[in-house]
Symmetry: C2
Subunit: 436 residues, 2 copies
């Protein structure tokens, strides 16, 4: 079957991430789809260093991509509103499906664009427009489709959340954190869209529409930024058990729909209050499921590229498989499952928590650590619990990452010593990072 042909405009952060994923994961993607994705045509006013476009047609006139009859799917990643709108309308007119990461465009012109696409028998996919790499559009439109959505609340601007997190953690004021974020590239030189809540309002308008089934209405969102948040308020909120986050909130009430973006106190026991730095999260409440929360990176080259490529896979599956086999049962085409070896538990590599009961004698800790070191088990921390004189002493060790087998060997050596009382308790530690 001939590859699905992709045309892409823009060569900024998200476009670079998208191209890199399509290149790095080409083999896996073909196994997921059952067909190849091929970037045929890229439109960019200027090339960027380090972007490999070999074998791809390049045009300085972006309209050439939108009109190219050989392109099946048109991916718009230039941002901005007016020219992006022209390009997408042209692509639709020439019968192409469209993928965009452009929240401003969808929030402001989505109603017209969707109508036009419908009339032409094509679709517009926009997972990347909201909350970067978090598949929250899919969750709302499909995963939670059983529900009447009551409300949703999200941290949907990474720059704003980074600033509030740094203010709180570092005790530094808004202006100082903002200028540092600009120097680090986390904030734009004109930060208005992020810190004044406009970007979040674009995303909220989209989320509210797909939650409640109402037309897009960006103009109706109430917007307040975070530039007025002081350290004093962060600390007073904390005294009350709250954190201040910049939330987008949409709620269906009996009188109508609330859509608002503003600094908000959330109790510190809530997961949303513990979403820090540039991370995003959207909590959604449905009448059947109750609350679900969807967390991940809200921006970044590869993270947002992940959402663009997910839309490509979705569309390519629709254009390829018979509907019933749209998504393979185990995510990859049946003939493409890998028979990877499954490791035994002794081959696990992770840190360990070990609790010993030992006799209250001198030299015991030294002997235990000597034996562990002999098996190349090194320690991150040791706690000795004060106990009753004459009773066994509790020793807690936290190891660095080791093979379970090495630890087990060390422990059977240690267990033979007379100072050990009973079996030690061993519990694995998960760092939620790469441990291999």
């Amino acid at each position: 079957m001939k590859p699905i042909s992709v045309g892409l405009v823009g060569l900024g952060t998200v476009a670079q991430g998208t191209l890199q994923i399509l290149k790095n994961n080409r083999g896996e993607l073909t196994k997921r789809i059952g067909r190849e994705l091929e970037v045929k045509h890229v439109g960019a006013r200027r090339n960027r260093d380090g972007v490999d476009l070999s074998g791809i047609r390049i045009s300085r006139d972006l309209m050439e991509v939108a009109k190219n009859p050989e392109v099946d799917i048109f991916v718009e990643l230039i941002g901005g509103v007016d020219y992006a709108l022209d390009l997408i309308e042209t692509a639709i007119d020439s019968g192409k499906h469209v993928i965009t990461a452009n929240k401003a465009l969808i929030a402001q012109y989505g109603n017209e664009l969707f109508e036009k696409a419908q009339a032409k028998g094509v679709t517009i996919a926009f997972e990347a427009a909201v909350a970067g790499g978090i598949p929250v559009v899919k969750a709302l439109r499909e995963g939670l489709a059983a529900n009447q959505i009551n409300w949703l609340a999200g941290i949907i601007n990474g720059t704003g959340n980074y600033i509030l997190t740094e203010m709180r953690d570092g005790g530094r004021d808004f202006a100082s954190v903002l200028s540092e974020a600009q120097a680090l590239g986390f904030a734009e030189s004109d930060p208005t869209f992020d810190v004044e809540g406009i970007d979040a309002a674009h995303k909220l308008a989209i989320l509210a529409s797909i939650a409640f089934g109402i037309p897009l209405n960006f103009a109706a969102v109430s917007i307040q930024g975070i530039s007025g948040i002081s350290l004093l308020d962060l600390s007073c909120a904390e005294d009350l058990g709250y954190r201040i986050k910049h939330l987008g909130i949409a709620r269906k009430t009996k009188n109508g729909v609330e859509m608002r973006v503003h600094p908000t106190l959330i109790h510190e026991t809530q997961l949303l209050a513990n979403v820090n730095g540039v991370m995003n999260a959207v909590q959604i409440h449905g009448d059947a499921v109750g609350s679900t929360l969807h967390y991940g990176p809200g921006a970044g080259s590869l993270a947002t590229g992940s959402a663009v490529v997910a839309d490509l896979v979705d569309l390519a599956r629709l254009l390829t498989a018979d509907p019933i086999n749209r998504v393979p049962h185990l995510a990859f085409q049946p003939g493409c499952l890998k028979n990877l070896p499954i490791l035994s538990i002794e081959e696990t590599l992770c840190p360990f928590y070990v609790r010993f009961s030992v006799r209250d004698e001198t030299g015991v800790l030294a002997e235990i650590t000597r034996i562990l070191a002999g098996h190349l088990v090194s320690l991150e921390s040791v706690i000795q619990k004060d106990g009753v004189v004459g009773e066994p002493v509790v020793l807690i060790l936290l190891t660095h990452t080791v093979h379970e087998k090495a630890l087990n060997n060390a422990l059977s050596d240690i267990n033979r010593r007379e100072f050990v009382v009973g079996q030690p308790v061993v519990i694995r530690v998960e760092t939620l990072g790469d441990q291999g």
Copy 2:
């Protein structure tokens, strides 16, 4: 267009939730799909009180449902392995699509069942088999399809997480919390599947397969339960900055795949460490997106029913729309969008944080609370910050839920008083509950 005809076997917790959602949200579901879902035939060995099955054919012989040629989609919600397998194979043989919440069945017989379904041109949907109402199968197979998945780690058994949470919060041992959980209906009378990790291992085997594209291999999962976890270890872990959670972990390493279920220390700053009670969460790490986390109720009648009905919507959309319009742009069919009124910010109903600077005079707090009460604004808490004598005093108020307009009226009264120094700072509070 004639309705999609659904046959359902089982009348337990999940079946009841599924039937209730199909009834309560019938209108919304039709607007999402563009076609009606109709439960035509229910198979149950005995009826249950309070389940309204009027107008639905009922059979005591469940095979009648699996064979009924008028049924398009067969929903298996009886649980257990042997008979469920018979039923599903019969349904596939008679050309029906299948939806199941049966994790044991998929984990142990999924490879054969998927092959059989593929050969017959039907599909088996199983979102409800993993993590209840959280759409994590969809996230892995579709939302994160751009990624090579590196690892995932999840709290995927609500009973186990409830027990560990109660042990930690209440300082009570395993046995005492378990018997309370049994009395409350959170744990089965035979709790082995939950507390010894077998249920979690079923789910982990499914997650690992769809993450890495490997055949299902439940027998290869290393399993350890939580019945050996002591209060001493919970508190020692806490001294080190960790929580103990019962995790399912799957990781792709250069040597092969790890699949393991066991008690695990996770640092308290991680979101997973803060997932408490019966809630579930799965953290997934992909090479492009980095970490995402998917949180929600892992069990329960309506929550698991939400996943069953999401699969019904998915299948019904495939059987109804042309592929390109499978999922409507704004989640509901274009002709079905509602023009709900959008409320102004003054109509917002929520608690508020208000910080005043006031002159250091007696009677100021009394006067402020008197004016607030006059506008029906009541207070949850008040903090007066110690300051320098002669300088303005900082007063922090947290109100109960009020209309923003009422608060604004009260504040303009208060601002006219001479004791007020500068403008008060007002920040909204979000309780993440129903505020209307």
